[in-house]
Amino acid sequence: MNVPSNLKFAKSDEWFDAASGAVGISDYAQNQLSDIVFVEILVEEGEEVAAGKIIASIESVKASSEIYAPASGKVSAVNKGVSDKPETLNSDPYGEGWMIKIEGGSAGDVMDAAEYEKFCEGRTH
């Protein structure tokens, strides 16, 4: 399980990069979901989002799932590429698979990498 140490993680498996403002789903989440076949980003550039609000909806061959904002702030960019190529979330969840950027925002209820790794290991069911 890949958990980059520079990122923060929400309990609902989103990551937040405080330096760039980028948001995506964790390697753990993409692995649990398996092949992702559909991504719809529900916020637009310039929109204000609050931590915990739904920002996207994704669907895999196993399940559909909602993605929540791990931070509050203004949406400064939306990665349209992931809607065309949802599989990017599987192949590169921390790189090309970023979904939106939240600018000048503050992180919501998030964990650091070590805490998140422990949290995932403890999820027996």
Partner: protein, 503 residues
């Protein structure tokens, strides 16, 4: 148990009916018209080309007969598809629903000419009331989710009739069927997810925190999709009712309760039945289902109209006259006519009549016994995350420590052992879920063979995982490309002129 062949069998390819077409070949020849001809529709509505297949009758029959042999059904073998109650459908149902008196009637006939049909519907309403402990039943809804929508409409109508307009939130456990939040969402309600606790019950603390005067009610499946009977069901009902909410019961898992527990007695206000699960109406091909809804006293007035009732009491030697009645504050019609009469209601009536009260209780007891027998046999090989006495089904994890084998691989490999796979990846609260519901109709030999196959597959997962990743190997078609199926929605060989698949 011997291991099924692992070599790829010659792939059996049946061409599509379009590929079998040969220009000029005919199935039927039309006689000369003996009625006046009429003009065709306006030119703009006519297509210049309509590439329908051209075949002889015998070619069509053989094509579909060959296709039917690729099928797998409850008449072929074990079908432990969790939450779907794929029980055997007794063949006597097929006789009764084809009785001429049922088969050749029309819903618009005068009631005096269809008294038999109406008596059957009236009695079925009464029996479902008796089985569930409810005060009234509508037979109209065409399927389970349609029944849910009907039930939620009545809940909304009830609050509205009391001027209680603040109630917009529906409480739904995380173990619920996806149709529950969808039904509430269709009425513009917001869905509040209530987590399950360690034992698979509704988390009482979370429920208590969510209960206030904005709650429409709660939609609860009991036993739930983990196959667990909620150990605090009375407390759950009380918490919801104390804040003024109504209790909705999803009857998907009623098979576990027949003759033992009545949802109406537990305090539920409304519940849909799945006649196509619990009462042996065939399903699995997309319908038709049948989803009657039962309600408690306080929702009686809101039932859809019309209901079947006695419109003229018996008088001396004269039998009562059955007809249609409309509840005072009815939410209106949910279906053009009276429900899926022949396909659903007559078969379910037959099933209930054939079993009687004691037989129905046997069904529940054997369904629960079979599930617990399988759970006990598989415990130790597969992780059972919520491990206690189950009801009619249980959920195992389709994964093993240190292995990359997943539930999907196990499900596909089961097909090589000639079993229909269990439901997988549901409920979502179990990783790599395999949801197993044997139903009461299976004997011990079948259950043993199935458990042996799953135990053997667990061994294969350790020794030759590739065999599972590439399964199935003995079916007409091998592993399907699910990603392609989900992403490329247009697979049709012929598209109408001007159709743009990008739109």
């Amino acid at each position: 148990m011997s291991t099924p062949s692992t070599s790829l069998t010659a792939t059996i390819v049946e061409p599509t009916i379009f590929e079998l077409s040969s220009p000029g070949r005919l199935g039927v020849t039309m006689p000369a018209s003996d009625v006046p001809t009429v003009d065709l529709p306006p030119r703009d509505l006519l297509r210049s080309e309509l590439p329908l297949p051209e075949l002889a009758e015998v070619d069509v029959v053989r094509h579909y007969t060959r296709l039917s042999k690729f099928n797998y059904s409850v008449d072929d073998g074990f079908y432990p598809l969790g939450s779907c109650t794929m029980k055997y459908n007794p063949k006597i149902n097929e006789d009764t629903c084809r009785l001429p008196g049922f088969l050749y009637t029309h819903p618009l006939q005068p009631i005096e000419t269809v008294q038999g049909n109406l008596v059957l519907m009236f009695e079925l309403q009464e029996w479902l009331k008796e089985i569930s402990g409810f005060a009234g039943v509508t037979l109209q809804p065409a399927a389970g989710a349609h029944g849910e929508f009907t039930g939620v409409l009545m809940m909304a109508a009830y609050h509205k009739s009391r001027g209680d307009s603040k109630r917009t939130r529906m409480l739904i456990p995380d173990a619920a069927h996806g149709t529950n939040p969808a039904s509430a969402g269709m009425l513009g309600m917001s869905v509040v997810t209530i987590p399950s606790d360690e034992r698979g019950n509704v988390d009482l603390k979370a429920l208590e925190a969510a209960c206030d005067d904005t709650v429409v009610g709660m939609m609860l499946t009991n036993p739930n999709t983990l196959g667990m009977f909620d150990e605090h069901i009375e407390k759950v009902v009380k918490l919801v009712k104390d804040c003024g909410g109504l209790m909705y019961g999803d009857g998907a898992n009623l098979n576990a309760l027949l003759g033992i527990v009545r949802p109406g007695d537990l305090g539920f206000d409304v519940m849909h039945f799945n006649l196509h699960k619990t009462f042996s109406v065939p399903h699995g091909g997309g319908g038709p289902g049948s989803g009657p809804v039962g309600v408690s006293k306080r929702l009686l007035d809101f039932l859809p109209s019309p209901l079947v009732g006695i419109v003229e009491e018996a008088d001396g030697d004269m039998a009562p006259l059955y007809g249609f009645i409309t509840p005072e504050q009815s939410i209106g019609r949910m279906k053009a006519f009276h429900g899926h009469f022949g396909g659903g209601l007559v078969r379910a009536y037959t099933y209930i009549a054939m079993h009687g009260p004691d037989g129905l209780k046997d069904i529940a007891q054997y369904a629960v016994l079979n599930a617990n027998y399988l759970q006990a046999k598989l415990r130790g090989t597969y992780t059972i995350p919520y491990d206690r006495i189950c009801m009619h089904e249980f959920v195992a994890e389709g994964q093993f420590a240190g292995s990359d084998v997943r539930a999907l691989d196990i499900a596909k490999r089961l097909m090589d052992y000639k079993f229909h796979p269990p439901t997988n990846y549901f409920p979502l609260i179990v990783h790599e879920a395999l949801m197993i519901e044997p139903t009461e109709t299976e004997n011990k030999d079948t259950l043993d063979r199935f458990a042996d196959a799953l135990i053997k597959i667990a061994e294969e997962a350790r020794t030759q995982p590739e065999l599972l990743h590439t399964a199935p190997h003995t079916t007409p078609f091998g592993r399907m490309d699910e990603v392609k199926a989900a992403r490329e929605l247009v697979l049709c060989c012929w598209l109408p002129e001007g159709y743009d698949s990008e739109k």
